[in-house]
Symmetry: C2
Subunit: 144 residues, 2 copies
């Protein structure tokens, strides 16, 4: 079984992010999510994460993918992951991060997969206009 | 009215990302979202985006925040934004991007806000273990 993933966000976006990713690359195994709704707190979230940990195979390690550095989903997962050598928390979860990490899980160890998640998540952020070829600037220049 | 924002993703995560952001920083104005469900295509999405454009004040510009470079929500919004000087598309939407962009909208122009979105979205991606102070490496060294 590949490295386990548990997505955790404010509100219910963790569930929908997983559904969006699975809409693109198909149903995934060893992935869970938790929601965080009004009235809950970090302790509630720790209990919810632990419940999900019981549902997955964590023998190859676990990555918690959360929305925001310093938020409750982050704090709760950090409390669990900090003392565990084969667990880590990655913030700023987005679809590029999810797709790349899910696609590269097979055979990858936790540390490499965390690097993959961070790279895919941050490099997946760009703008249409800034990625356009700047044809005007090159006008009149020879092709190189 | 600040720069308008329209979030668009595969599935229904756009709606939940906005709700998660509003759970943290409160209800926002001049922000809309579209979903993308099975059976729809890029043309459907263009129509849905245009419907949302009619609901917002676009006089200061519009940023489409989408999940994935090259996906249908990206392609549809790019078709609309490409010929418009005061519109752009930013990919890899996540909660750090949404929070920072929404917080900084007041008085910001489109170009600056796109830069803010990209920086917040990419810098919001990090890991718990990699951000820990590396105390062991500094053991025995004097404080500098």
């Amino acid at each position: 079984m590949p490295v386990g993933i548990i997505i955790g966000t404010h509100g219910e976006s963790a569930r929908e992010l997983l559904k969006s990713a699975e809409m693109i690359i198909g149903k995934q195994e060893n992935v869970e999510y938790i929601t965080f709704v009004p009235g809950e707190n970090t302790d509630t979230l720790i209990a919810k994460y632990k419940e999900k940990l019981n549902l997955i195979d964590s023998s190859q390690g676990v990555i918690f993918m959360v929305d925001l550095f310093g938020g409750s989903p982050y704090n709760a997962s950090s409390t669990i992951a900090l003392p565990e050598e084969n667990m880590d928390v990655v913030t700023g979860v987005n679809i590029p991060m999810l797709l790349e990490t899910l696609a590269m899980r097979s055979g990858a160890n936790l540390s490499d997969l965390v690097d993959i998640a961070i790279r895919a998540g941050s490099e997946g952020v760009k703008s249409l206009k800034q990625t356009l070829p700047t044809t005007n600037e090159n006008e009149g220049e020879d092709d190189l």
